[in-house]
Subunit: 199 residues, 2 copies
Amino acid sequence: MLTIYGMADSGNCYKVKLAAEQLRIPYRWVEVNSAKGETRTPAFLARNANGKVPTLGLEDGTFLPESNAILNYLAEGTPLLPAERLARARVLQWMFFEQYSHEPYIAVARYILRYLPPDTPRRADLPRLHERGYQALGVMEQHLAREPYFAAGRYTIADIALYAYTHCAADGGFDLGRLPAVQRWLDRVRGEPGHVPLG
Amino acid sequence: MLTIYGMADSGNCYKVKLAAEQLRIPYRWVEVNSAKGETRTPAFLARNANGKVPTLGLEDGTFLPESNAILNYLAEGTPLLPAERLARARVLQWMFFEQYSHEPYIAVARYILRYLPPDTPRRADLPRLHERGYQALGVMEQHLAREPYFAAGRYTIADIALYAYTHCAADGGFDLGRLPAVQRWLDRVRGEPGHVPLG
C-alpha cells in the first residue's frame, strides 16, 4: 500500500489526499508536522533530501516527493490525466503555473497569517504577496471565464493542483468576491464525485 | 513550424532552445525582451496571459507557456522523456524541484547581479537567495554523487531543466567548486549530442 507522508492542513498535501480519494487508491497517511521540524530529521531527509511534504512512499520502498509529480504518478492512465500529447502539456502548463506563480504567494500569505505570531516581521511581505497572488488569480479568472476547467475541457489533476490553495485563499487575506468565474469553478470542483475537504 | 518566443539570455528560454536543437525540431525564434516590458504588451498577453517567456507558438495557432511544460510537449515520444510511469514521475519530480526550490533562488540571484544596477536595494536579498540556492545545489550534489543523471539513469528533460540555471550559477554569485558531483554532471550534459550553449 502507498504511504502519504503529509501535514493535514497543507494544501500541497491535500492535493495528494484528494486525488487518492477520487481515484479510490488505498493509502496509509503518516502525519508529519513541518512546523515542528519533523521534515528536517535524518529519518525524513532519507525519504526526501529536500525536506518537504508531501512525499509518497511507494511499494518498492522508494519515495516520490513533489505534490504535482505525485499527482501525475497517481493519475497516469485514469480520466484525471489525459493521454493526448497537447492535453497533457496543458495539464502541466497549469501545474507549473501553480507552483511558480500561485503557491509562492497565496500559500505563503496563508502560512504567515495562520501559523506565525501576529507580530512576525514577515507580515511586511503581505502587500507584495497579495499583489502577486491577485495577478495569479486574475490569470485564472480570465481562463475560467471561457473554459469550465483548466485543461482538456474536463476535471483533471490541474484543477486539483489549483484548487488546493485557491479554495482557502481567504486564510491568506485574499478576497475571492471579485472573481466570479473562479468562484463558479470552485463550486464545480467541490461537486466532483469523491470530493473530500481539506484537513 | 513552431515559434519560440524567448529571451536569448534567459535560462528558462534556453531550456526550450536546447531541447529543440537536440531533438532536431525546426523552429522560428522570436526575441522578446522582458526587461524592456515586451512580455506585458497586449499582443504578448494575448499569447500568454501570465506575461512570461518562453511561450511556444503551436502550428494550430495556440500558445503553450511554462518552460517545463514545453519541454514535456517537445520530448513526448522521444528518448528525452521515458514512457514508463514511475520514470516519468521522477522526471517531473526534478522539474518541479527546479521551478520551486532552485530557479527562484539561483536564477533570481543571477538576475539581480546581471540586470539590475549595482546600487539596487534588491542586493539585500542575496544572502537569503544564496542560502536557499546552496540548499538546492546540495540536494543535487547528494543525488549526483550516486546517479549520473536525474531520472531513469539517462539524459532526460529533467537534466535540461536543471542545467539551464545551474551551469551559469556563478553569474548569481554561487561557487560550484564545492560541488564535485554537480561539476561532473555539468560536463556530462555539455557532452550530450547536439548540445548548444546559452545565448
